[in-house]
Amino acid sequence: MGAAEAGGTATYLYAVAEAVPDVDDLTGVAGAPVRTVESDDARRLVAVVSSVDAEAFDEQALRRNFEDLQWLEAAARAHHAVVAAAAGAGPVAPVRLATVYHSDERVAALLAERADEFAAVLDAVRGRSELGVKAYAAAQASPAEPAPDTDRPGTAYLRQRQQQRQQAAGALERATAAAEALHAALSARAHAARRYPPQDPRLSGEREEMVLNAAYLVDDAGAAALRAELDRSADPALRIEATGPWAPYSFATLEQR
């Protein structure tokens, strides 16, 4: 125990799994090879890890790197690639980016301390993956120009603006209702669903307002049913973006201690 020494290594944790995945050809964060740490426990939990330079992953370095978009992108993609590869071998509980321990022994201790919780998480996601669905209020065509009223151009302009506002409000209302219906239909076909707050248009980079941001936990049959439902329910009020299958990020959560 104790702080990492200069020139020492630390253990970067990607995920907790049941089976040892084929990681021989994998490259993880900072180009490090990927390997595993197994618990002594009868449950045979497996931590998927890399050795990293302790100084490059200490608190100062991480805080600095989290503001460096190039570093963050490389780390996030590498981290996600390892998680995805591990998910190919069996149920996996993805761990948050930049979860670093002083040593392999610390990771083994973690597996032992929280074995019951990890086992429960892995049971919940066994044979299942995550589909992501985002829906936006579809862009509306501009309302028809009102007949020009040359005697009262100001009034005509104000009336047009009021029409536009009313149409936009109506469109958003329809989109919101359509999103609720879609979420209900998709949830009914999934083992579990998680709904997230809609992203501000400034965050999503999209002009339209997001009316649904959700993740669904499904096995293969459920995934097919969900995709069929998405195809079937093409509501003109919505623009839908579906992603996946993902490793079950949204459903591999530990209860708060």
């Binding site: 993805p94 992603t243 996946g244």
Partner: protein
């Protein structure tokens, strides 16, 4: 549907998935916010991570769009992170200015009230 790195079920042998094609915002949303959230031994303040996550998303949303258009100058700009900290300072300065303006308005309102009551007195 873009995949999250896993083979699409029920579609036979899938081609090797190119990670680069998966949307960065979707990846960051998952690896930063979801899954097993435990402290680890390296204690980066979790609240700071939440704030960083928001800031990162602000960046990522616009970065992805810009990249699509072939714009990527920031990848070679060493002053980018400095610019982010300037935003915080600008924020503080703006808030201070708003405070000054509101204080001045309150003072103006007070003077206006005083002038009115003087007029009333004279008219009364």
């Amino acid at each position: 549907m873009s995949t999250g790195g896993l083979p699409m079920p029920g579609r036979g042998a899938s081609p090797a998935h190119r990670q680069e094609s998966t949307n960065l915002a979707d990846i960051l949303e998952r690896v930063l916010d979801k899954g097993i959230v435990i402290a680890g031994d390296i204690r980066v303040n979790l609240l700071e991570i939440e704030l960083l996550t928001i800031k990162i998303r602000l960046l990522v949303a616009s970065v992805d769009k810009a990249r699509e258009m072939g714009i990527d100058w920031w990848e070679h700009d060493p002053t980018l992170t400095v610019g982010q900290r300037d935003l915080a300072a600008e924020n503080r300065a703006l808030r201070q200015r708003i405070g000054e303006l509101e204080a001045a308005r309150t003072a103006d309102d007070g003077e206006l009230e005083a002038a009115r009551s003087t007029d009333d007195g004279e008219a009364g």
